[in-house]
Symmetry: C2
Subunit: 210 residues, 2 copies
């Protein structure tokens, strides 16, 4: 059953189950989390899980959608505010701060799911790739605005720079959680920004924004 | 039982079980692979698995050691040969070629294990972090030789550049397997090299090596 065809109470119940399943899967992985685990954690019945998700595949798909909405919601909001280099540095600082608050645990929910599922299920892979594509669109939008503001060179290859930036995010988050050291994420992200600055326009006056 | 205290036949049997377990875990994840699955795939007995590994934790630890040896063996060999920019480009080409041969499936065995295990088991996290540290040492060694050869600036921060390079590898491999497109790995790796070149020495003559 899709969320849009439900009553308000049904949507709330479904959302509560998905959030709890996302947390369990984040901790134990998809294969390490059974429907019984999710039933026990959410105090729900077999027939409820069947009603809302059909089977485990449907529930995992709902978890992917949930994590994509959470992560991409936050990333799109932060990246949509980027107009200049200082905004980009602020975006880096906020990502590093979140990882520090978590004790450098957890990594990227989308990246962790992609590492586990991209090779095991084609529909999960497609959904996770869509999430990365949305992330790329948000990064690409930020870079396009910086180019409009004469901060990035007109001939900068924004698509390639977007890929290197997203790779730095994903690699940096994985190294940070494996080393429990947010400095590895910071190094990766600062490196991505240094790469963008290599395509920066230095000669023109920058418009003052703040 | 450690590999060093075994007979040759014992080592061979243990190695065969570990390689098969590594393949199964690569396909289905750690939680999605049971000891029974591994027994069935390797035609081994419960008492054999107990003899060689104790329990599933011991077997997963052996798989981490195995994948670290395979990946780091190949990476150390390739990186130890790096003396100049052309060698680095060759290293990029060979990694992209391997991923293309695999149809952009599989990603990095160490990265996939780290994504799944770094937050669930502290001893696995430590072992996987050791693997990344060995990888960093190999990258750092290549960069140090390039600095010795006057190709990288004396004040280049090799530790930070090593982190950005490993993050690009890990992020690029994850994006490539999720998109089934090796071009995303190539973009990430070429970006890492562009970042190294930004610290390159341009004025001095380069020693000819080949």
């Amino acid at each position: 059953m899709t969320a849009s065809s439900m009553t308000e109470q049904g949507r709330a119940t479904r959302g509560r189950i998905v959030a709890a399943a996302a947390a369990l899967i984040g901790e134990h992985g998809v294969s390490g989390t059974s429907l019984d685990d999710i039933r026990a954690a959410t105090n729900s019945s077999k027939s409820q899980l069947y009603h809302y998700f059909g089977d485990k595949h449907g529930l995992v798909q709902a978890v992917i959608d949930h994590q994509s909405a959470v992560v991409l919601g936050a990333q799109a909001e932060a990246l949509d505010a980027v107009r200049d280099w200082r905004d980009l540095e602020r975006w880096v600082d906020s990502m590093v701060a979140v990882v520090e608050q978590q004790g450098a645990r957890g990594g990227c929910p989308i990246g962790t799911l992609a590492a586990a599922l991209a090779d095991t299920d084609e529909s999960f892979r497609t959904a996770l790739n869509d999430a990365f594509e949305s992330w790329r669109a948000a990064i690409g939008g930020a870079l396009a605005r910086m180019r409009q503001n004469d901060l990035l060179a007109a001939d900068a290859d924004l698509e390639t720079l977007t890929t290197t930036t997203l790779a730095a995010i994903q690699g940096g988050l994985l190294l940070a959680k494996t080393s429990r050291d947010s400095a590895q994420l910071r190094a990766a992200l600062e490196g991505a920004i240094a790469q963008l600055r290599a395509h920066g326009v230095r000669d023109k006056p920058r418009p003052r924004r703040r």
